[in-house]
Symmetry: C2
Subunit: 421 residues, 2 copies
């Protein structure tokens, strides 16, 4: 049991920030036992970690990133989706067949997540199960939480990455089984997207999902050409979402990245199934995918979170992703004022409690939530000293960076810098 | 005379990067005397400053920022334009009546420009001429170049900022006269925008422009409500641009920020007059102004550069502005493929030679150009070591920050960190 003191800011609801100025959070066995303005009487003799004027916020959740592509961050941004995949992404992913290479590079991925305050992340690995296991182990060792998926891909991809369907399913099943009882990092089923998986692959993944109640992640409705392609591959399906649904891959444990060009009935299906839409504004801009109708999806009851989508996205930082999400929503707002725009508290909610709910009670400081937290020293940003805590949070989100994050907690454990080279 | 050696990257033309790997730049009296792959014979005995594997690029040009608003960076981003002006911006600008306050805060502005590698900037000050002069002097002292304008505003603004027209014109004329022979920082005429200047004010500024051949900066076509308002104020004018033109304020020395909602004939007028369109993507998103048709304007022959538009924009960094300019152009491209999108070299051109041309021969390493340069140490970004220089530049622009800028030159002078508190 320990208590932290500081300027506490989080989002119980998306519509407003919950603030305890110079407040206290009690943590017992990794969970928040209280959050309050005053130190409760029964804890008056407890020791308190006093963060002074610093801000304490929930850790950030990244619901979509490709771990082998971290080495390509900021590269190939003049290319469109298909040449980008063929000349940059696929050749890079092929390198993760080599376990030593994977260990070296995935160590950097984990250090990057730590550095930018991403305390939970759902990651696509590559098709290589050994490398995926290395990534799981490194995340656990560093004390970061989330999900890692071995990618499945048995068609419409280069020979050097194309899997034998049954081998892929067998490896995936073993990967899921082996990692069922991990502490912080769960296995997640990861069909790359409809065009790269055969019907047998999708059906087999649906079976594994049911057998292990395993979470699922994939892509949907990112690009108009992709949607047309899926329509050609599955002429009998009602739409893109219907293909996933037909294989039992849409439920409350499913993350679907992008959701830009959603048909009305796809949105309804997602809401009914409880699927999470993962908004990845950096890549949506960088590879010309379009402006996701985030506010519309939220209004219809869609669950949602944010993704960095490294390396279609170029920023590991979830605050940078929040800012672009607000900016894109304001461009939509300019064109469609009735939509409204994403506010700071709404963006904060998506990055913490909204996305965090995928991992359980994560992303808030309400009682019973896992204590994932960042301590923010914004003194280097301080030009004015007459700001409210909401303004200080906004200034950090818009203009701060990794230098302002001075402490990180996951499930009550204070993290050290990952000890990898 | 001195020579620098390193990996030289600049943009002679916007369509491609000009690269000299391990090349040399000779600098004589502040100007580039040669740039080449090999050290010319006649200079073999000259001493060379060897930057090794580092990248040498032209300094960044910021063509639109509000100096008194630097203290508000990252604040008020949930507000729309008018409440943002009334509750945040105008009360802040009023503080610059106090010269001591202005000196303290403008010192930080100059330090920020230095830190982010902005070697030339055109800045709006406030209406206070004493504060504007302080800003000029601080910029000169720090060795940074550009233009500073005392803002003119005699209507449609709070009483506490509203100027007497004749006093404003007199102060402006004296400010221009006093700063005619500065080394690096020129005075610039700065009517805030049409709605805040009376006809007499605009006419008077047009006279000063002609008398001193003074540059001019203002705003145009940022917001649909603003455009409607201008139409109501000047029912006889053909359009917004025509109002400025009628007072003699549009010429090859004019910067016009935003240019989002341009009528065809306004674009033609700007091209004819040689006016610069200043693209400010951060603020265009943050305050829901819209997506500037940058590629269309460029194709029609418009001169253009980039602006941070602090504090409607929240990033002092011109690389961050370049990235968002590319991203917004790709959203337009998704909707209008015939427009194409802004490439890395085009964005780099806007940020250096394109914008730099406003200041003379600035923003390139071609012979005769003023030697404004940044030395980039991208070793902290290096995950892969098999990259081309173009890829290394892209990675720095997309993912680097002030930590990667290790040296700054303006007109051949190596800058020290500004010595202000």
């Amino acid at each position: 049991m320990f208590i932290v003191k500081g300027n506490i800011v989080f989002t119980k609801e998306s519509c407003e920030l919950t603030i305890f100025e110079n407040g206290y959070i009690g943590v017992e066995e990794g969970l928040v036992s209280f959050v309050s303005k005053r130190l409760p009487k029964e804890h008056e003799s407890s020791s308190v970690i006093d963060y002074g004027e610093k801000i304490i916020i929930p850790g950030f959740c990244d619901l979509h990133a490709h771990a082998p592509q971290f080495e390509n961050i900021g590269l190939g941004m003049n290319m469109k989706l298909l040449p980008w995949l063929d000349t940059l992404t696929f050749p890079t992913e092929a390198k993760y067949k080599d376990a030593d290479y994977a260990k070296k590079m995935y160590s950097r991925v984990v250090k990057d997540l730590y550095r930018f305050g991403t305390t939970r992340a759902t990651l696509f690995a590559s098709v290589h199960v050994e490398a995926a296991q290395i990534l799981v182990d490194l995340m656990e060792e560093a004390g970061l939480g989330g999900c890692v998926g071995k990618v499945n891909m048995d068609m419409n991809c280069p020979d050097y990455l194309c899997e034998d369907t049954e081998t892929s399913l067998k490896e995936t099943r073993e990967f899921v089984k082996r990692n069922q009882n991990n502490s912080l990092v769960d296995p997640i089923l990861t069909p790359r997207f409809v065009p790269s998986c055969s019907e047998r692959m999708m059906a087999g993944l649906g079976e594994i999902a049911r057998e292990f109640d395993a979470p699922i992640q994939s892509h949907i409705n990112e690009n108009l050409d992709e949607i047309k392609w899926v329509g050609e591959l599955y002429p009998k399906s009602k739409n893109y979402a219907d293909v996933y649904d037909g294989f039992g891959l849409l439920n409350g444990n499913t993350l679907m990245a992008h959701c830009i060009h959603m048909k009305e009935e796809e949105t309804e299906l997602f809401v009914e199934r409880g699927v999470y839409a993962v908004h990845c504004p950096q890549s949506n801009c960088n590879i010309s995918s379009g402006k996701m109708p985030l506010k519309n999806l939220l209004r219809k009851g869609m669950k949602a979170g944010l993704g960095s989508d490294i390396s279609g996205g170029h920023a590991v930082s979830i605050p940078k992703t929040m800012v672009l999400a607000m900016q894109i929503s304001k461009l939509r707002f300019q064109e469609n004022p009735e939509e409204g725009f994403l506010t700071l508290s709404e963006a904060m909610y998506l990055a913490t409690k909204g996305g965090g709910s995928f991992f359980g009670k994560v992303g808030s400081f309400e009682k019973g939530y896992e204590f994932d937290a960042l301590v923010i020293d914004d003194s280097s940003l301080a030009v004015r000293d007459d700001l409210t805590l909401e303004e200080r949070l906004g200034r950090f989100i818009y203009t701060g960076d990794d230098r302002n994050i001075v402490e990180r907690y996951v499930r009550g454990r204070k993290l050290e810098k990952p000890p990898f080279e």
